[in-house]
Symmetry: C3
């Protein structure tokens, strides 16, 4: 077993404020480079491998876009077309791909802990692109960066995370990242989908959705993950939409200037009403654009 890679990004838990802020400083440089069409070719001659053991569009494309903008060669690997079907272990796969001369492995996997496990078996950098219900650090960093670019600072701001927190790696990673940057994090959603221990992690459960909306500077709307995960937790998707969906009516209770976020893809009419998804408060596409710059900063720091 090799030493764990020093520059992997596995979780936002434990990242220091200065670590996050220097990443943001680089992301800002990359965002300007992308806009001008002259990006920093910091990974010229290096290889980034995207190992996606779980379906994804935007995260994979975003990492690929980021790596190519940095001048890296990109190898794409998806589980369907892979040896994984032949029963090869995750550990064997990552060690083999590393042996091809890869600087960074970007890994998405349906099992919580997969990226950590991988990082224990390779010397190259591992970037966690989402593991089970555990963590999705690049998403949290791009979310926080989007707010940071808008507000200048997150200190004292209140961010509401709304929805199925129990199954959400996005919620968990955002909680750590946002509180590190000085924001207050409030949760709302179906009681059956609120994990225990949110207070211990620095968050707060809202007394009611209405109260939470009234005090939020930003609402992060979580995706309803479909029937499979919510079976037994939710009466129905329709019921969810009625009780917890961010409708136009609920969005109207937000403070002036409050923003609406979503990690995508949006279930229009379920967790987010179409008019809110496209409304003036939404920063969903800014999240996507900033995502490329933030992932460039991550890959640059890791690889």
């Amino acid at each position: 077993m090799k030493p764990r890679a020093r520059h992997s990004l596995l979780t936002t838990e434990g990242m220091s404020r200065s670590e996050v802020e220097s990443l943001f400083a680089r992301a800002r440089v990359h965002a300007r480079g992308l806009e001008s069409g002259r990006s920093v070719r910091a990974l010229e001659g290096k290889v980034v491998a995207n190992l996606f053991f779980e379906a994804s569009t935007r995260t994979r494309l975003s990492f690929e876009r980021a790596a190519k903008a940095l001048g890296a060669d990109v190898l794409n690997f998806t589980a369907q077309a892979s040896s994984v079907v032949k029963g090869e272990t995750l550990m064997d796969t990552v060690r083999n791909v590393e042996a091809m001369g890869v600087a960074a492995l970007v890994i998405r996997h349906s099992a919580s802990g997969a990226a950590h496990l991988a990082a224990r078996h390779v010397r190259c950098a591992v970037v966690n692109a989402g593991d089970g219900t555990h963590a999705h650090p690049s998403q949290a960093l791009l979310d926080a960066f989007t707010l940071h670019e808008r507000w200048g600072s997150l200190d004292g701001k209140t961010v509401l995370i709304l929805g199925d927190v129990l199954h959400s790696r996005v919620a968990r990673s955002n909680l750590f990242c946002l509180t590190t940057l000085g924001a207050h994090v409030v949760f709302a959603g179906p009681p059956t989908l609120m994990p225990a221990g949110l207070e211990e992690m620095g968050g707060r459960l809202a007394p009611s959705l209405e109260a939470a909306l009234a005090e939020a500077d930003a609402v992060m709307v979580l995706r309803v993950q479909g029937e499979r995960q919510t079976a037994g937790y939710l009466p129905s998707v329709r019921e969810y939409a009625r009780l917890y969906g961010l409708s136009a009516e609920r969005a109207a209770r937000l403070r002036p200037g409050a923003v609406v976020m979503h990690p995508g893809p949006v279930n229009r009419g379920v967790e987010l009403a179409p008019e809110v998804a496209d409304g003036p408060a939404n920063v969903i596409l800014a999240q996507v654009s900033h995502g490329v710059a933030v992932r460039m900063a991550i890959l640059e720091a890791c690889a």
Copy 2:
């Protein structure tokens, strides 16, 4: 809703002769560049995304080859491995991919009108790589370019389009493009597979296949799309081959110098006999080669 992108290529309908001819002039430059191995790197630092919501080999590879020859970074996205299965709308997908900093979206979709719809929701260029039974403009342009390079001009030439015209986006796009360039377009095939209104669009229905073959300078053989689409329209594939397939015997009725074209992939022994597909009159591989140069010209003009 954002303004429709100015430089999208959605259909050949309404393209002016000078537009087509200046595209051909650039395609000629690119064809020479490809041959010499020194292509014009006009899209260096730009990103082209291939969004293929429908299976395709050669069109996707051809666009990818073209984009890379221009120096662009290419992002590939196919519907199977995508959020589309999670129910994300086409509109959300294209807006998200655009937000990653993409100069051009190349879209194939099984729904007629998909590329137009996409173009109404993004500012970047949209290139229609085939939408339902509606249009396939890059195919029509490469077909016309192939004839143009051979003949010098299409003025006064007669092109026969043979087969299932009803379901063919290739036939429709070719009709507009060829007539714009001064050619006469004649159609032949099963009466049940001839759409109404061909005359209004500038074409002509052949009195018989035999008469049409005798007067054609080029025959474009359409692909039989398989049992699904032709169910109820055709007695059987075998019957189709017998009545409308371009057999060696039928090909022998063509004028000396007349060429045989096919958009690929060929159903050998169905719409085209193997000895004709490989015979001296066929320009099928020239179509493929010219396709790369024409798509370079399209991407260069759009992105």
Copy 3:
């Protein structure tokens, strides 16, 4: 039918010792280039197409990595997403991809002879990345290169190939390559999975696995291909592991310094015990690393 490409790599059968050794000399240059992050950009402006009609992870990624390290543009094509499902012949596919301006086609196919067939229909280089049970020359070359780098020379060394030789393209290609380089090749495995004629091809059947282990300088452990191929040949996978798997106990009978190889992916606990796969004798990851360098040498020589 066009003349067969001069610089294709279809099989190791018939390769001369000097051909193999000059390939190794280039592979050594590329291995150093990869280590220093400054690889020879010998294919800048050229295109390599990976046509994989059969699932593969590491071989496809390794060829892609090699081609990109040489500066080539890479087009990836897998059968699932392709026209092959529409019934296009292999011959049509390769001719079409060639017509897009491709310097080399890397082909994997489940039918023995597929790469030879392809090479007869194109002028560009064809690299056989595995065809049925016939040949897998790049794997054999990287295996031999791994031993060559370790030993300086293969002359007089004894290599044991252990397992399902009957269905193994790896075994066949290694036999030719290793004997050409002066090594002795010994085979062991279930009698039902030993093809006739190994002696005529320059190999030798071991009297017993124990005897073979005692005299081997290297053991190449073949992958058990799963239930499908071994049905009727093997009582069960468990029985195989017990009788022919390289357990820690059997590995202990190897000479000091003898190495254990596997083409991957490993079925841990079937043909190879986990403690041997990860043990000090294994060179499995060195095979993977050398694979990139060897494939760079192959593509450079071919394209």
